[in-house]
């Protein structure tokens, strides 16, 4: 199956990757080859086959709703690239001009 650079650019945007134009052409080629190989699966008629989402037969796992020790706010935010008053700082997401 042929994959276009436009499609890969769309997928990169969905995946939040700012790939360069060199990477784009490389990725388009590499993914095209992998998808060609994956076409192999179309040899099989799977209309009547149920999917395996998971190998275990377990259902929703329940636990007691009890309070147990957990991370302190300091420990939980210690790896943050930008932290203020135990909160993660991010670029603003609301634009004042849009009201």
């Amino acid at each position: 199956m042929n994959l276009t650079e436009k499609e890969v650019r769309h997928v990169a945007r969905l995946a939040r990757l700012a790939i360069s134009s060199t990477e784009l052409s490389e990725a388009t080629q590499a993914l095209g080859r992998v998808l060609d190989y994956i076409d192999l699966l179309n040899e099989l008629n799977t209309d009547a086959v149920p999917p395996t989402t998971h190998v275990e037969a377990i259902e929703t796992v329940w636990r007691q709703d009890r309070v147990v020790p957990s991370l302190s706010p300091e420990a939980a935010t210690a790896n943050g690239p930008q932290v203020s008053s135990q909160m993660f700082v991010v670029p603003k997401i609301l634009d004042r001009g849009e009201e």
Partner: protein, 488 residues
């Protein structure tokens, strides 16, 4: 035989009896790491001071009786760098996690430490466990201790190389499509991927959650058994962890005469290096001579396994890796706005193979393609599982080569991702089916190791380990690399 040759069980026994101290065991490992790691690059991080402090504590504060209750007393272990540790950084081989320090330990780390093991360091790996050669690490390649111009296999290449080069007797790896067994085979050590759910994944950095499983690499079958006995426990912190009996601490002696072993024709066809085939067939003859009943079987959907895997694993990965967004941990690269910050962070933080798999997985899950790709792969996964169900109705265990060839040269498969992906063709099926698989070294050809793979039904690790132990007993003791570019 010196300390360097001891397996984990032997090491622990000596410490328990007070014949050597834990400090001596750790010093031995650190010396060996110092002399061999500059060539092999198995370790990303070594915490010698921390490990020695723990060993000193054990020597000074624990009574003989207390040590006798520690099944891995004083054993130096290496942990693949995708299992989180509070005492050392965890990077998963990625630049995006450079400097990350986990606020908690993976369950497997807790269980090993509770058993007296001492973690000396974290091992190199393909970034986020995506690879078959340990060349896709942001921190340099790991080299095969048998021949430093060749890859150790991957993605747990650092763990396998550390055990083969006798830097440590024991290491943990993780296996999503063969990432324990392939490097075990290429480095000539033992490695087992347990049944999905046997070992808690709490604290394992997720690659493909429905396939990932942690397991040990070691230089004897009994070490695999003892370690899996200790780490194969139910864990409330992992909802997929199975609440089943743990396996016995030692392999239960089994007569090979009692075993019916299947040889799947699809794993013995074309494409196998003739030298690998010859040695595997010689080993099969030895099994036959010892009375095992070897019967031909068929796993007809084997040829679809790689295609199935390369839809399911990247799809799950694309979702799992969305957490690396520069907000809560790891790298952040400033951008004009939030989305731009995400894009630049991920662009700079991820390596090319990781990006490739994120793109592939995102494509397979995107609108209009889900049914054609992801759902289709899940259906074929059912057929692959059914192959094994049918096979295990006829046989107790299955034996195959672990990998079709010998360790390849560094850079040899770099340019063609698809060829790299096909390296996993004999190992990936057990992940899709969720069953245990063990790679056992069966000898050398042209100075390079060959591995044989055992596969068993779900939760049959005790049977797999017993059979491997019986084979271990009739084979000459495995060799370890002495020179091969790495001098003592």
């Amino acid at each position: 035989m010196g300390m360097i040759d001891w397996d984990a069980v032997q090491t622990a026994e000596h410490v328990q009896r007070g014949e050597v101290s834990a400090v001596e065991c750790i010093e031995e490992a650190l010396l060996r790491i110092e002399s061999t790691n500059p060539t092999v690059n198995a370790f990303l991080h070594v915490d010698g001071e921390g490990a020695l402090a723990k060993a000193r504590f054990m020597d000074h504060n624990l009574t003989r009786e207390a040590k006798a209750n520690l099944p891995l007393a004083g054993v130096a272990v290496a942990i693949k760098d995708n299992m989180v540790t509070t005492d050392m950084p965890t990077t998963a081989g990625s630049k995006i996690l450079e400097g990350f320090r986990s606020p908690y330990n993976a369950t497997v780390v807790e269980l090993l430490e509770r058993a007296g093991a001492i973690v000396v360091g974290k091992t190199n790996m393909d970034e986020f466990a995506m690879g078959s050669s340990t060349e896709h690490s942001a921190y340099g390649v790991t080299r095969n201790p048998w021949d430093p111009n060749r890859v150790p296999g991957g993605s747990s290449g650092g763990s396998a190389a550390a055990v083969a080069a006798r830097m440590v007797p024991l290491a943990l790896g993780s296996d999503t499509g063969g990432s324990i067994r392939l490097p075990a085979s290429y480095c000539g050590v033992f490695g087992i991927k347990p049944t999905y759910g046997r070992v808690s994944r709490y604290g394992l950095i997720a690659y493909a959650s429905s396939l990932d499983q942690i397991g040990p690499l070691a230089r004897s079958v009994r070490d695999l058994a003892r370690t899996l006995h200790l780490i194969g426990r139910h864990d409330e912190k992992d909802a997929t962890s199975l609440d089943v009996d743990t396996i016995p601490e030692s392999p239960i002696p089994t007569a090979l005469q009692s075993l019916r072993i299947g040889l799947p024709e699809e794993y013995f066809g074309e494409g196998i290096d003739i030298r690998v085939r010859t040695l595997i067939e010689k080993t099969l003859d030895q099994l036959r001579e010892s009375g095992a009943d070897l019967v031909p079987i068929s796993l007809p959907h084997t040829r679809y396994a790689i295609a199935t895997y390369y839809l399911i694993a990247p799809a799950e990965a694309s979702s799992n890796l969305s957490r690396y967004d520069g907000v809560r941990y790891g790298l952040r690269v400033a951008g004009d706005d939030l989305i731009h910050m995400y894009q630049k962070t991920r662009q700079e933080g991820f390596g090319s193979e990781v990006k490739r798999r994120i793109l592939l997985g995102t494509h397979a899950l995107s609108a209009g393609y889900y049914d054609a790709y992801y759902l289709k792969a899940q259906k074929v996964r059912t057929l692959i599982r059914q192959d094994f169900d049918n096979a295990f109705a006829q046989v107790d265990l299955i034996v195959t080569p672990t990998v079709a060839d010998l360790p390849f040269k560094l850079g040899e498969r770099d340019l063609d991702p698809l060829q790299m992906y096909l390296t996993d063709i004999f190992t990936v099926t057990t992940n899709l089916a969720g069953i245990p698989g063990l790679s056992q070294p069966v000898g050398l050809v042209d100075g390079l190791p060959v591995g044989l793979q055992w596969m068993g039904p779900p939760l049959s690790e005790d049977r797999v380990l017993s059979a491997a132990s019986a084979l271990e007993a009739i084979l000459p003791p495995p060799e370890w690399p002495l020179s091969g570019g790495i001098q003592e």
